[in-house]
Amino acid sequence: MADPDILTSPLAVPRPAAHHRRDTLRPVKRLFAFEELGITLALVALVLLIGAFHGGFLRQNNLLNVLQTASFVAIIAYGMVFLLAMGELDLSAGGTYALSTILSAKWMAGGGMNPWLAVVLGIGVGAGLGAVNGILSALLRLPLIIVTLGTLSAYQGLATVASNAGPIQNLPTGSSFYTGLGQNQLGLPVAAWAALVLVVVLSFAFTKTRFGTMVRAVGSNRQAAAFSGIPAGRIRIYAATLTGALAAVSGMLALGYFQGADPTIGGTVLELQVIAAAVIGGTAISGGTGTVPGALIGALIVAVINSGLLFFAIPSNWSDFVTGAVILVAVGTDSLLRHRRRARALQEA
């Protein structure tokens, strides 16, 4: 380590007194100050509110069902957090989900391939499709959102071609893949376990590793990051690959549970839920910051809203509108609260 020890000469620079404040309540405060507190409370409030009107919503079966639906979305949203934190957006995750699931199902259909092997290959396909997004955007010098605007349809279209536009027949539903994923393990759906394990692993990767730090650095000031020697293009390929792989993981979990695959799965409906989950979770679309656990909460909120609508017997024509409106309220409230908190922090500083 170099020590510029020549600077010991007392050059007269006025030095304001450091204001360190000791605070005994700090650990307690910290517990209640975690970033996702606001939306967690919102989630709890939403669940209780719906439960107050329709007790059936709180039944274990229903809650597990909501958890499972949310998990499929959350797992992809984790990857989206990395991309959003870089100031990028992948629109093709729904297509990646569809294509990798269809291919995997096709390979295992009719006793063709060991289902587990087909699943691993399917995840590999997802990662590959994500990498293609990243590489294309590096080669064409385009933001990922533009490249994936194209691959969104392209991947979904390939899924249609591969499946011959119909559901995959003759899935080996007797295999351990389907029996294992089809039922709850230790009281929770397998997808929920996957979502929980991944939230821990990826949250750690996002906040504590070199990769995560470089992702946030690029999103925070792309030019300064490049100027510091961070290979932004390569980091973007990694993040896009991660998102593709996670989309495939989510697809495999759904395949195991629903025991069926057709080319209409995934698509823009799933895609928008994923983006909504990440954004509701508190990841800024402008880059620099993000939260992986927030994406899980965000996915839960989306799933709760969708499920709650059924209980309120809202005419199906209106359900899309209501979903959208509730999302706007959720994101808007959070944004306004953050804004106020920041303004207050600035006042105090």
């Binding site: 050059l11 007269a12 620079v13 070199r210 730090t213 300064a224 510091s228 500083a349």
Partner: protein
């Protein structure tokens, strides 16, 4: 006349201004000086309506005033041209001049003819002769600065604050700007000139005011009655400090392998350029904007393709063609544009400091531990005297000089072999400037190769062992240390002839 009486400003527990009295008179150019954290920018913000004072009064022409925002101040004839350019690079010159107050046909269509009619005399007075439809992003920095001044002049201000107007300018452009300021004085405008460039302050200002620790220590002293040394002494609060010299450097670069460039060529921007810089040598590259030094830097740092020639690093390896590769091969680059390229303002200091060593250099492993990073930041903070509340504070909260020290810390933490410095002391105060010059000397003492360019020729003359002079893309000669002076450099870069 604009008078501030007993103005104080409190930020939380920190007192930025403690009872300041200032008087600004028409037809007078007043220099406002002070080191980092002296309260200079706070005072200016209060005077131009960007902040409200905690206590104290402002009177304008005898009437007490209270501005809720900058717009109100402008309406009352008080304008500012700030150091950070607030221009829209994708809009053209006219659109930039009239943003939010465009003259319109019938309230809808832009009336460009009217804009041009009003803009022309102002542009002429600042000496900006570019096409009105030119996109502002394509103008050079100095020209953009003039656009900013022209925009302020459109409001016909009676009191104009110029915050570091000359620090980004080349010598000839600086002279033109000072001429503009003289013209304003003739027409009775009160000008407050805030700058770190003491030479400019002394060549233009009628009176000088110095702040230190939130108080006025020199009040409207006529220029003739005070010397640069005295002013520096007052700024630093240490009259002795002003006389301190650069630390002596033991023996100029002699042994050890250095950096070798042979026939480096970039289209018409750089004619074949050879350089052999020894380890421990500080080599200056001087030239007007676009004459070559920045091209050399950009090629070395992998930001620009070279058409020919070779680069050999001190360890014998070849020069890389990407920034990532350049950084990994041991090159550091302290950029002139600190906010855009140097730091991440919204990230904590420790992340900024560790960015290079933890990122591309992979020195801190796969998992980055925050305690290790804050410890490093704290140590650099002590060594470079970074004034910071804590290593976790965001870089954006620091003053300019301290932000620049964070940039130095980030690159020193990477232990580079070759250091490129582009205007390393732009916008920092005298005290921090002296410290940075000491840092540069220290880099050389540690056998690093230092290449430096600066718009401040006095700095080049002070710091470098030798300076290579560029003119229109060609290295035209070299001035050795013993013959270096600001005067000689100015002449050389302006004429392309190095007198022997």
């Amino acid at each position: 006349m604009y008078v501030a009486t007993d103005v104080s400003k409190q930020y939380g527990g920190v007192r930025a201004l403690a009872g300041v009295d200032v008087e600004i008179r028409p037809g007078e150019v007043q220099g406002l000086l002070g080191a980092n954290g002296a309260g200079k920018s706070t005072l200016v913000k209060i005077l131009v309506g960007a902040e409200a004072p905690t206590s104290g009064t402002l009177t304008l022409g005898g009437e007490p005033v209270r501005f809720a925002n900058v717009g109100q101040a402008v309406a009352n004839g008080v304008s500012i041209v700030s150091q950070e350019l607030n221009l829209f690079p994708d809009l053209d010159l006219l659109e930039n001049l009239f943003v939010l107050r465009e003259p319109r046909h019938g309230g809808v269509l832009l009336n460009r003819r009217e804009m041009a009619r009003r803009a022309k005399p102002v542009l002429r007075s600042v000496g900006l002769g570019v096409r009105l439809g030119r996109r502002v992003g394509t103008l050079r920095l100095a020209e953009q600065q003039l656009v900013e001044i022209a925009r302020a002049l459109l409001d016909r201000p009676r009191i104009l604050f110029l915050d570091e107007p000359t620090s980004a300018l080349q010598a000839s452009e600086r002279e033109r700007l000072l001429e503009v300021v003289r013209g304003l004085r003739e027409s009775g405008v009160a000008v407050v000139f805030v700058s770190h460039l003491l030479g400019d302050v002394f060549s233009i200002c009628d009176t000088i005011t110095v702040l230190r620790n939130g108080r006025v220590v020199v009040s409207r002293r006529p220029r003739g009655e005070i010397s640069i040394q005295e002013v520096v002494g007052h700024m630093l609060g240490d009259v002795e400090g002003a006389r301190r010299r650069l630390p002596e450097r033991g023996g100029n670069g002699t042994d050890g392998p250095g950096l070798r460039l042979s026939s480096l060529t970039v289209g018409s921007a750089l004619e074949p350029f050879d350089l052999e810089a020894k380890a421990g040598e500080v080599v200056g590259l001087a030239g007007l904007d676009g004459s070559g030094p920045h091209v050399v830097f950009d090629v070395l740092f992998g930001r620009r393709r070279r058409d020919g020639g070779t680069v050999v690093m001190p360890d014998g390896s070849r020069g890389r063609r990407t920034t990532w590769g350049a950084v990994r091969s041991g090159i550091a680059f302290v950029p002139a544009d600190r906010k855009r390229l140097g730091v991440m303002l919204e990230k904590p200091i420790y992340e900024n400091v560790s960015l290079v060593s933890a990122g591309p250099l992979r020195r801190m492993g796969l998992v980055l531990r925050r305690p290790a990073m804050t410890a490093r930041a704290r140590r650099w903070g002590e060594q470079l005297r970074i004034v910071m509340p804590s290593p976790r504070a965001h870089v954006g909260e620091l003053s300019g000089g301290n932000q620049q020290k964070v940039v130095f810390a980030k690159w020193l933490d990477a232990e580079p072999k070759v250091v490129l410095l582009d205007d390393p002391t732009r916008g920092v105060d005298v005290g921090a400037r002296v410290e940075m010059h000491a840092l540069i000397a220290d880099m050389a003492a540690r056998r690093r190769v230092v290449l430096m360019t600066s718009s401040d020729l006095e700095e080049l003359a002070d710091v470098c062992d030798r300076v290579i002079v560029f003119f229109q893309g060609r290295a035209v000669g070299e001035i050795p240390r013993e013959r270096l002076s600001e005067h000689r450099l100015l002449e050389a870069i302006g004429t392309g002839a190095v007198a022997s």
